[in-house]
Structure formats: C-alpha cells, structure tokens
Symmetry: C2
Subunit: 254 residues, 2 copies
C-alpha cells in the first residue's frame, strides 16, 4: 500500500481492504507546494483538513516580535488537525519544510467514514491519541530535558514515526531539516543545535551528513535521551506491557 495515511493507520486498527480504499478516497485531489511555503496562515478560515501525502511540513507560530516556534513536525500520512472539526480560523500556521504534496479532507467525509466503519473510527481515534501523546512528550522535553536530551529524543521520535510509514531503515533516515529548522523545533539557537549535534557525533551515537541521519546505537541514543516509545501506543498486542508502576509515593506528597 503506497498511501502513507493508510499505512500509518494500520498500526491503530485492523483495516480491511475496503476501509483502506475508503480512506484513500477521503483524500481526493493532491496539491503540491515547494519548500518553505505556507499551506494555511494564521487568520485563514480553512475549508478542509490537511493531510500530508509526501514531504515534511510543520505547524508553527510566529510571535509579534519575530520569534518563531515550530510546534509540531508533520510527516507523510499525518492529518494536521483532529479529524472531526474545522477550526473557524487558524490560530497558527501550517507550512512546508520541504516540497510537499497534501490533500484536503472534509471533516464531514471523515466522520462519515468513521460512522460507517468501526475500524476506521478506531484507527482515527488512535491517531489522535498518539498525536496528543507526542504533544505531551514535547512539553516534558521542553520542561525537563537538556538540549542534548531534547535533540536525541526528537531524532528517536522521528525515526519511530517514519518507521510507521516505511520511510526509514534500521540504521537511520533522510533528515531534510537544516540546523536552523531544528533550532526552531527544539527552542534552541542554531549555534547551540550545532554544538549539541557535535556532542552526539563525538559520543559516537549518530552521523549526520548530506541530509542523512545514521543512528549507530539506537539503544544508547534512547537511553541518553530518556526516550521511552510507550507513548506512541504501538503495541496492538498490549497484554505484554509491563506496568512500570513504581512503589507508590502516593500517600504523602509527591
């Protein structure tokens, strides 16, 4: 199956071939943009949801004084908003990071597909759950992880997400972002991004050259980044999961 949306959603529910076709049908006409263009700008009234078909995009917000923060990176197969509703206006912008092709999906159609197939419904809700969990993890990164941990965590997360749509191999993936882009994602200056990358390189954890990231020791990178993939909710077989419940601190204060 070449459609990345379907590819990803298969991790969230057991889709039938008919489900897959219906999902492909949601995303009728594809639109193409060059790198660094806006898909939707703050203030726009969107008329459809955005589904990324190829390339990398992002959600970002520009502060009055020019400071810009990339809130979220979107990869092929990502639906940029909750599927059932259209914001009345955009409170942020959606932009391409690389050349991108995307489709417009109407919330009514997505809801209808969910109504008619419980598997599609489950898959779409699962997708929202994962997106929301990634958002949580991002807050934890910003609040409590050092610059190096944050970078490592991002790279681990991208690797795991690209794996969902078959766009990486075991050893690494194509990373089309500049160090400046990475800074806008991680809330760091481009100078410090450079230093952090040097650090990961000289620790022998990664190579990043010619827009290709190689991860030499995935477990080690995960360890230094405090990356626990549990939040991606990938185990359909959930009986295996060990509740990591520590002896509770509960009774007293935390």
């Amino acid at each position: 199956m070449t459609n990345p949306f379907v590819h990803k959603l298969r991790h969230g529910a057991q889709l039938t071939d008919e489900d897959a076709e219906r999902l492909v049908g949601l995303a009728a006409s594809a639109i193409t943009l060059r790198a660094h263009q806006d898909i939707l700008m703050e203030g726009d009234r969107p008329r459809a949801l955005t589904l990324i078909l190829s390339g990398w995009a992002c959600r970002y917000k520009q502060l009055g004084d020019g400071r810009r923060q990339i809130i979220e990176i979107f990869l092929p197969g990502d639906l940029c908003e909750p599927y059932g509703i259209l914001p009345r206006f955009m409170d942020h912008s959606l932009g391409s990071l690389t050349p991108v092709s995307f489709a417009r999906v109407r919330p009514e159609d997505a809801r209808a597909a969910a109504r008619e197939s419980p598997r599609i419904e489950e898959a779409l809700w699962w997708d929202m759950l994962v997106q929301s969990a990634m958002q949580h993890e991002r807050v934890v990164s910003f609040g409590r992880r050092s610059a190096t941990e944050r970078m490592g965590h991002l790279l681990c997360e991208l690797h795991a997400r690209l794996a969902l749509v078959g766009l990486c191999d075991e050893a690494g993936f194509a990373l089309p972002l500049t160090q400046n882009d990475l800074g806008e994602v991680l809330g760091l200056s481009n100078v410090h991004v450079n230093r952090v990358l040097q650090e990961l390189r000289s620790a022998g954890l990664i190579t990043l050259r010619e827009r290709r990231l190689t991860i030499h020791d995935r477990e080690a990178l995960r360890t230094v980044s405090l990356f626990d993939p549990g939040y991606l909710h990938l185990d359909l077989d959930h009986e295996k999961r060990e509740p990591k419940r520590v002896a509770s601190a509960l009774t007293g204060s935390w």
Copy 2:
C-alpha cells in the same frame, strides 16, 4: 446550570436543555480525592475517561531520575482525554492538585451522545480543538517565551478558562497552587518562580496573597505575556474576527 462540563460546552455549541441533561448523565457517579493523590498512574489500564467536576488536577510525567513535569492543568469541566477512545495504558499520570471530585465517563457513552445530538458532537469536538490549541500554545511558551512571559501567559490562560465555568471574577481568581507547583507547570525552579512573581508584583500587574490572584491590569498583563486569547476559540460570532493576515509571503495558499 451548576455542572461545569455543560457550562463550558455551551461556549462551543448551542446546547438544548435535553443536550445538557444528556451530558450530565454521562458523568454518573462522582469520586472524591484529597489533594496530591493519583487519579490514574502511568502504566494503569484505564476503564473510563476522567471528567473533573470540582477542584484542580493535572496531567504529569515523572522522568526516571525524579524530574517531574506537569503537562497540563485540569479545571472543573475538563475532560482529561479525547472523548472517543480509551488509551490501552496510561503513558503518564493524572493527579489531583487540590481536593478533587471527578466522574468516570465511558467513551461509548460519549460517542453515543455525540451520535444522537449534533450539538453535543459539535461541542465535544470544539472542546478537543481548544485543548489541542492550548497544548500548542504551551509549546510556544516553552520554546520562545521568557520565564516572566510564561508565568503571565499561564495566569491569563487560567483566568480565561475559569471564566468559561464561572469560577472567577473580573479581578482575579483563587489560585490554589504553591510556587513549587507553578514551577513544575512552567519548567522553572521554585526559586525562580518566586523571583518572577516578585517582578510581576513590583510591576504592579498582579497581587498574589493567601491563594488569591488579583490581576490589576489585564490588558497590560496580556501585553507583557504576549497573550492573544484567539487560540481559545471563544467567538461563536466569528464573522467579527479580523484575519490578521500579513502581506502574504505566498502565492499558492488556499
């Protein structure tokens, strides 16, 4: 209407009395907890969604080495997860910040209510949209706002959210958090929280005493915090909104 959930959702759609009753019915039995208890712990398999009825709660994550980050604050009327799905296991914890009472809501029931009333459906989706927008704004805060701006932004947001459920007045609200709690929300040390509060106090913007926050100049506080309430999507009357579209960098946007 005393039910805070209904109170809030009325901002997202024109609910009928019947809708309101149905929503109240979703949250049958209330459970009460003291402050600083866990509602759900990381690793738990939840059997229902959590709906806060009174008191303040939070989503938090504890890192291996003891660092803790509060990801999100929940106020009365807040549903702690997307309404249509139950995570297979918790990848984070939900805890009370004050004494709390909450109800358990089954996703099937919420979905059924949405299926049977388009207004309820719209309201629930609107709520998800707002929660997700607050999450985005949090990332922007962490990435690009200074400690003082972050604090001011949080206070403005809490004020606006409490207004949705009628738990504040024009001048301020009861803020039951310690400076340490605020630090865990904002990713700051308690020492620095103290200094930031001093700064806001001596600028004459706020008073915080005996767990009551008074905002002396709301507009000024919003300005120094770069707080723009647009992301809360409160204007049902959306024709009024000025698209803040700057001269576009762009030709091909939709």
